[in-house]
């Protein structure tokens, strides 16, 4: 005897079939009773585009690049997320903040280019963990769709959260797509 994994194991019955079993009809009727039972069962289907299932609070969807409360980009292009990324989906180019750009970028350095290849990304959330500036989060949004591969490389414009100062409504809506837990850390900050 090997290891018993479940208590459902049944010894093989090699006794010859009874007359009823050989008739086959009775067993067909039993099978039909089972299928009829399923016919009236409640269906577990979720009508997807109209209905969505509720995800866990820590669901890892598409990325979002965060801004601070004055609407400045938090990312400083340190590259830690790109290093942490096991799928090597993130590329960025850093640039220095010029005079008069203080309302755009929080610190002296910022990401001039920030791209995530959503076809490579495995949504592990290591970038979120690695980020020292609270700049990248995984949102609740998922199922990106596109007609060509190029469209799956998300640029900085696609990733940035709307500006809370100039577009407060869009910002609040985008916040809703970030998971609850992140919003709490946001409030703490």
């Amino acid at each position: 005897m090997g290891i018993q994994y479940t208590n459902r194991a049944k010894p093989v019955d090699r006794s010859p079939m009874t007359w009823v079993e050989r008739l086959y009809l009775w067993n067909i009727l039993k099978g039909m009773a089972i299928t009829l039972k399923h016919f009236f069962k409640k269906k577990p289907t979720i009508q997807y585009p109209e209905q969505t299932r509720t995800f866990s609070k820590v669901f890892r969807g598409l990325h979002i690049l965060n801004r601070d409360e004055e609407g400045r980009e938090r990312c400083t292009a340190c590259g830690l997320c790109a290093v942490a990324c096991p799928a090597e989906a993130i590329t960025m180019e850093a640039a220095e903040r010029e005079e008069g750009e203080e309302h755009l970028y929080r610190e002296e350095k910022y990401a001039a280019k920030y791209e995530i290849n959503m076809l490579r990304c495995i949504f592990c959330g290591y970038c979120e963990d690695a980020c020292p500036k609270d700049a990248i989060y995984l949102s609740q949004t998922f199922t990106p769709a596109n007609y060509n591969r190029k469209g799956f490389i998300y640029k900085k414009e696609d990733l940035l959260i709307p500006n809370p100062v100039t577009e407060p409504e869009a910002y609040q809506k985008a916040l809703g797509t970030i998971s609850r837990e992140n919003q709490i850390t946001e409030e703490v900050n």
């Binding site: 009809l25 067909i28 099978g31 039909m32 089972i34 299928t35 009829l36 399923h38 016919f39 069962k41 269906k43 577990p44 289907t45 009508q47």
Partner: protein, 349 residues
């Protein structure tokens, strides 16, 4: 003078009836595909088509449209005439059967009694058998003309299956004919109206007939001619577009018609069960309509049972199929026939 002597009303009446019956079979077959998908879905804990129109009711139209727009491929090595003839034959034979079925009690239009039956011929049930046997040609010609060994093998499988099961079917039917004493469909129904449904006298005969009907319609567990998953899609492998649609459509029409025939032969046809409709005192036309609806309900029930069986029972192996047909059903039908003959003789009915 000859033209004047012709009963024009009769011809128009029959033409309208034919048009109605053919349209009805088509529409029912169309929605049988929808029903099949819904039944399959519900049995498998799914919802089924629900996007095209409310409850997905336009799905058959969408499917038909898709089939029309598919590319029409006729293999180069095929015999073109026969290749086209195959699906046409399948469709025509499927539709022809409906001609002798009494669809309801007679209606009265403009003082004339109009029987809801296209042709009340005195060999009705023989006609049905003849036409059903012709259905083999649709499969056989289609498989042969494709010039593809898989299609041909599937066609041979299908032909041998249908011929084998026709035997047991015919034998089980003889018992019914002995009870009625007539081959005429209207007489068979009238006899059941007077003496109770044939299912009471012929439960075993009905069971054999039902199993054979499954085999004749190429339905699971006897759908070896098609066997899409493991036997290379069967005789319509080379077919595409609406020609394939015709084959699939013919299958559903066959299913509906065999449901109607089973209700006519064993379940009292258009008889409304458990009531004496003559005592209602309603008009004859209304009664005709109600009886027609009752017949449809019975037929739809059988169509549902066909689908139900399809999504429950796995397919037979070919030797099991032949074993069941020749060694079980044929002897059983013979015994059933002999016993019925003895009882009829002893009771001297």
């Amino acid at each position: 003078m000859y033209l004047l002597a012709t009963d024009w009303f009769f011809i128009i009446e029959k033409l309208i009836l034919i048009a109605l019956v053919v349209t009805l079979s088509m529409i029912v077959a169309m929605y049988a595909t929808y029903g099949e998908r819904k039944v399959a879905a519900f049995i498998q804990d799914r919802i089924g088509p629900n996007r095209a129109g409310p409850f997905g009711l336009l799905q058959p139209l969408a499917d038909g449209g898709k089939l029309f727009f598919k590319e029409e491929i006729i293999p180069l090595a095929s015999s073109k005439f026969l290749f086209v003839l195959g699906p046409v034959l399948a469709m025509v034979t499927a539709l022809l059967t409906s001609a002798v079925i009494p669809w309801g009690s007679p209606a009265v239009i403009a003082g004339r009694t109009v029987p809801l039956q296209v042709a009340d011929i005195n060999i009705g049930i023989l006609y049905v058998f003849g036409v059903v046997s012709l259905g083999v040609y649709g499969i056989m010609i289609g498989g042969w003309a494709s010039n593809n060994k898989f299609s041909l093998l599937a066609a041979i499988r299908g032909a041998s299956q249908m011929i084998s099961y026709e035997l047991a079917m015919g034998l089980s039917l003889i018992a019914v004919l002995m009870l009625t004493g007539s081959l005429q469909m209207s007489t068979i129904v009238q006899n059941q109206l007077d003496n109770g449904w044939n299912i009471i006298y012929q439960p075993l005969g009905f069971l054999i007939f039902f199993i054979c009907a499954l085999a004749e319609c190429n339905r699971t567990p006897f759908d070896l001619p098609e066997a899409e998953s493991e036997l290379n899609f069967g005789y319509h492998q080379e077919y595409s577009s609406m020609k394939l649609g015709f084959y699939l459509f013919a299958e559903y029409i066959n299913m509906f018609i065999s449901g109607v025939i089973m209700s006519t032969l064993y379940f009292g046809g258009y008889d409304i069960p458990f009531v004496n409709e003559a005592s209602w005192g309603i008009s004859q036309n209304l009664l005709a309509f109600i009886s027609f609806v009752v017949l449809l309900c019975k037929a739809f029930f059988f169509v549902f049972v066909f689908m139900w069986i399809r999504w429950t029972v796995p397919r037979f192996r070919f030797d099991q199929l032949m074993h069941l047909g020749w060694k079980r059903l044929v002897p059983l039908a013979l015994v059933n026939m002999l016993i019925t003959a003895l009882v009829v003789l002893l009771l001297n009915k």
